[in-house]
């Protein structure tokens, strides 16, 4: 029996919402210090031990897991957008050089001010990401002729290369302590998340995702081809610009609080497409919730699996996601 789009969206959303709830609950319960949480929840005792456990749950594990949820959702959704707009399966949220720009901003903040002056690393990273997108977009709009998609991809690659070179230049004068901090930033780090970051990133991700979801059908038409879309009444250039801006803002906000977490934005959209088909009206909610669950789970594994060490979350996402993706690719 073939369900219509709305029912399919509902079924998929419910399924992943359940998965997300379970993942988040497990992630909050599991940690590096052993706490008898179940006993604590039901005893209702107000001991010092209980207070400390609550503090670890509410002030450390929960904001951290929520940030992973927000980042995973944002990256997966903007992955769908960039893959759709450029009609390129290799596109990912960092296509417009956002990660390189953000990394440059972060490196400048860490090296030149030791993180302690100006606004801090997050703001510097956000601004760096915006500069990159503005540069790429500027290049694309200046070059009126030629294939839009190829221009975006080329401009993105070139701007990213430029930003990378500048970053390496700054890094060459950094001391070993600074280099180590830069490395932590580049690998993605949720360990010190607070609710403020969750709020800020959450606002961007929620707003951006709602906007993108509202354009889901137009994105479907864009993927069918510029001409087809235009015949069917889509303002091709305007829709594309708006989608790219929305995707960039989401990615920029997410990268500025969590660093460059790889893999999620590239592979979650593909996995969901293999599972539920290419219709963006189903794909976007599936990616939003699926990306969130995946990154929350990956972060939980990252902080507990190699105790007493903490693994970089990007390593966990790639190590667990890549085999699963390959399996799907072969089976379908």
């Amino acid at each position: 029996m073939r369900l219509n789009v709305l029912s399919r969206t509902m079924v998929v959303s419910m399924m992943f919402l359940g998965l997300l709830t379970v993942t988040t609950a497990v992630a909050v319960m599991v940690g590096t210090t052993s706490q008898d949480i179940i006993a604590l929840l039901f005893s209702g005792a107000e001991t010092e031990q209980a207070g400390r456990t609550w503090m670890i749950l509410l002030e450390y594990r929960l904001p951290r897991t929520l940030l992973a949820v927000v980042v995973g959702a944002g990256l997966a959704v903007s992955g769908v957008v960039f893959q759709g707009v450029t009609r390129n399966p290799l596109a990912e949220p960092y296509l417009m050089g956002i990660s390189a720009g953000a990394a440059l901003g972060a490196v400048i903040s860490i090296t030149l001010s030791g993180e302690y002056q100006f606004f801090g690393t997050s703001v510097a990273a956000f601004l760096g990401g915006l500069v990159s997108v503005a540069l790429v977009y500027g290049l694309v709009s200046v070059r009126k002729k030629g294939d839009y998609v190829n221009t975006v991809i080329l401009a993105g690659v070139i701007v990213a290369a430029l930003m990378n070179a500048l970053m390496l230049l700054v890094m060459s004068v950094s001391s070993s302590h600074e280099l180590q901090r830069i490395l932590f930033w580049l690998m993605g780090d949720f360990s010190l998340a607070d609710y403020q970051e969750v709020q800020v990133a959450g606002l961007f991700v929620a707003g951006g995702s709602i906007f993108i979801y509202a354009q889901a059908n137009r994105l479907n038409l864009l993927i069918a081809g510029d001409e087809t879309a235009a015949y069917l009444g889509v303002h091709v250039a305007r829709t594309r610009t708006l989608l790219i801006i929305a995707g960039s803002l989401v990615t920029g906000a997410v990268v500025s609080v969590a660093g460059t977490v790889g893999f999620v934005g590239l592979v979650i959209p593909h996995v969901m497409r293999l599972l539920f088909g290419p219709d963006n009206r189903v794909l976007l909610p599936a990616c939003f919730l699926g990306g969130a669950s995946f990154l929350a789970a990956a972060d939980c594994i990252a902080r507990t699996a190699a105790y007493p060490l903490e693994l970089p979350v990007g390593v966990v996402t790639a190590l667990t996601g890549a085999p699963f993706f390959l399996y799907l690719l072969i089976r379908k």
Binding site: G31, T32, T33, Q35, E46, T47, E48, G51, R52, W54, M55, I56, L58, E59, Y60, R61, G114, E115, Y116, F119, G120, T121, S122, V123, S172, V173, S175, S176, H177, E178, Q180, R181, F184, S191, L192, D194, Q196, Q199, V200, L203, R303, P308, L309, E310
Partner: protein, 316 residues
């Protein structure tokens, strides 16, 4: 905070009041017992190296140290029993290994720190992410941030820590010994010809100690002339060509990257260097020299002896 830039002012007040309400409810929920405890009101205050005032309602009794140097200072002040957490790299003194570790240096596990319920966290500025400092402070755990640039800063740090750990007598004694040792070295090397020194901390690429770093300061104090004294960054890179041009009397190598034999081996290829021909290449222990702790005077004496062998005739 920066995200406020994006929110409308009229919303902001409401949101703030709401979060204050939640927060006070949370605090009331979390710390009812702590409030009920009777305490002697012996407030201690000090200022950390970021010029932030750190006040405790009583001298610190549960301390987490996030740097080997800070662990060493706490032990030097006979405060080892106050230490409840340290990094995996804190290996001196031996007793430090009995203290539970909270993870690697530079990226300790916040969860374990919170779980230890410290009333003071000691953190190095260079080796701690700023977010760690703000995060712990937000959670009501005071963080003392250390940023030693030279030997005077160490005495100063010992004094400040002595106050907040209630070990002021021990601090005074440690500082006195510290200054005494420094003076001794200074007297020994007085009016002697200073050798030129190159101190390598990384081999490929060749990264050396510049005048602006802590180690650069140590070279000055031990009576050597650093060939990279006037470099603008603390740890500049040098080409082997520049090294040959400067032809230092003495080459020091930090044992952080390569085993001892390899260090010497790498350098002995450059026979044109005076230091190589005269066998004045020395491998230095990173744990001793790169940690701003009271033990640094041992490192200072070691350097001074290498720079001025005739000033230290016997093996003392």
């Amino acid at each position: 905070m920066w995200f406020r830039l994006f929110s409308k002012p009229e919303l902001q007040g409401g949101a703030d009041r709401f979060s204050v309400l939640i927060l006070s409810a949370l605090v009331a929920l979390l710390f009812p017992v702590a409030e009920a405890e009777t305490r002697e009101p012996v407030r201690v205050c000090t200022v950390d190296h970021l010029s932030r005032e750190i006040c405790l309602s009583r001298p610190a009794g549960r301390v987490v140290s996030l740097a080997p140097s800070l662990t060493e200072i706490v032990f030097a002040l006979s405060g080892g029993n106050l230490l409840v957490g340290r990094t995996a790299r804190c290996n001196h003194p031996l007793e430090a290994s009995h203290v539970p570790a909270v993870g690697p240096y530079m990226s300790p596990d916040p969860e374990r720190i919170i779980d230890l319920k410290p009333d003071l966290v000691l953190a190095p500025k260079d080796g701690t992410k700023k977010r760690m400092v703000t995060r712990l402070t937000d959670l009501g755990i005071p963080v003392f941030v250390e940023d030693c640039r030279n030997l005077d800063d160490i005495s100063d740090l010992i004094q400040r820590l002595g106050r907040i750990l209630d070990r002021e007598r021990e601090a005074a004694r440690t500082i006195e010994q510290f200054d005494q040792q420094r003076k001794l070295v200074r007297e020994r090397i007085q009016a002697r010809k200073k050798p030129s020194v190159l101190f390598a901390v990384g081999s490929s690429p060749l990264v050396v100690v510049g005048g602006k770093s802590f180690l650069g300061c140590l070279i000055r104090e031990a009576g050597g002339i650093n060939v990279a004294e006037n470099e603008r960054i603390p740890f500049p890179k040098l080409s082997i060509e520049e090294v040959i041009t400067k032809d230092p009397d003495i080459i020091l190598v930090l044992d952080k990257e390569l085993p001892k034999e390899r260090c010497i081996e790498t350098w002995s290829r450059h026979r044109s260097l005076k230091a190589v021909r005269e066998g004045r290449i020395h491998v230095m222990n990173a744990d001793l020299l790169a940690r701003p702790s009271p033990r640094i005077v041992d490192g200072l004496r070691q350097l001074a002896r290498i720079f001025h062998p005739s000033a230290f005739p016997r093996d003392e």
